[in-house]
Amino acid sequence: MTAAGEPSDAEVVAQVLAGDAEAFGVLIARYEGGLLRFAARMMGSRDAAADAVAEGLVRAYRHLGSCRDPARFRTWVYRIVANRCKSHLARRPVGDVSLDDAPPIAAPEHADEGVDRADQLERLERALAMLAPEKREAFVLKHLDGMSYEEMSAVTGARIPTLKMRVHRAREALLAALKEQS
């Protein structure tokens, strides 16, 4: 995850634990983008995602000494943020996820594809938001964050066969949603 010449996660963690609190900014810069995108998918709201990620990162700093394998800081901090998202979601009433402040759709590469592409992405976003939280989480970690099933198991605490089933069902649901509306 780090470019050549940059300190590894383990090195930065060691630096923070040695007393250099400012060094934690390196880890924030490295992972907040992915965490914000992940949390936005889970929460359906950018503001709620920012809260969950900020809370999660502060907790990660406070409990950094308990990160047993600093080389796997990424999965460890993802787990913390995933738990924050679940905690926030558990307090919200169950119902349709509001997409009013959902993440914006990526700009299409070519202007002439703009309308169709944007429409398809909007349908995709809705379909993703309609997935059950555990399926959405599994799909996002696998396909958007590029995690292996082992890493996903470390983040979610679920077994690998369970995670595979969730990802498979999520793929099928997304394809079906696009097919229905095309």
Binding site: E32, V58, Y61, L121
Partner: protein, 205 residues
């Protein structure tokens, strides 16, 4: 189910099957899902939270006294049932919170570890140990201590999260079940073991 994809497609997407082994239609579906994922990934992350986080990082932690005062005055009720028995034994389950305090460094816990606190009152004892399946039932492995000699022995032990069976051994020879444990199982040797549940400390984050 009509929405189910061929398992080979899933395996290819999971990196377990070479897409070249699929037929053209299947490869097209794999390519489509890859493209959908890339589309979803290419979304701006949103406003950075770095300044909020670093402001909290730079804020000094509450002192132990302040944290204890906050805990004591919190609205959460604490129920402790004390039974009038000769040996007052209390086993309290704790999940560890890792804070820096002036008292020194904290042990590093794994994600699936927690801390159990064993407390027992044996005023006449010379030694007390806790034995269980976490230390091969060997009394010498996990002694309790009574540093101020008030007859109350205690130890904090890092254990894997989950269930553990245990007893106390007094003066190396008297095996005492924990009457305050609240959870028991027959030990198959004519006695009962207490059952301890350890929560992973990460669940406190």
């Amino acid at each position: 189910m009509k929405n189910e994809l061929d398992p080979r497609i899933h395996r290819a997407l999971d990196g377990e099957l070479d897409p070249a082994a699929l037929d053209a239609g299947e490869r097209a579906l794999v390519a489509r899902l890859d493209a959908l994922s890339r589309s979803l990934s290419a979304v701006p992350a949103g406003r950075s939270v770095a300044h909020r986080v670093m402001a909290a990082v730079r804020r000094p932690l509450a002192t132990p006294i302040q944290r204890f005062r906050r805990w004591v005055t919190s609205p959460q009720p604490i129920t402790v049932s004390l039974r009038p028995v000769y040996s007052l034994v209390i086993a309290v389950l704790l999940a560890a919170l890792l804070w820096r305090t002036p008292e020194g460094p904290k042990p590093v816990l794994g994600a699936e570890e927690g801390v159990a606190q064993f407390v027992a009152r044996f005023p006449e004892a010379h030694s007390v140990a806790v034995v269980g399946n976490f230390n091969d039932w060997r009394p010498g492995a996990t002694p309790l201590s009574d540093d101020d000699h008030d007859g109350v022995w205690d130890a904090r032990v890092i254990l894997p999260a989950g269930q553990h069976e245990y007893m106390f051994v007094v003066d190396g020879e008297r095996w005492v079940p924990d009457p305050m444990a609240g959870r028991y199982v027959d030990d198959d040797f004519g006695r009962q073991n207490a059952v301890l549940l350890v929560r992973p400390h990460r669940t406190q984050q």
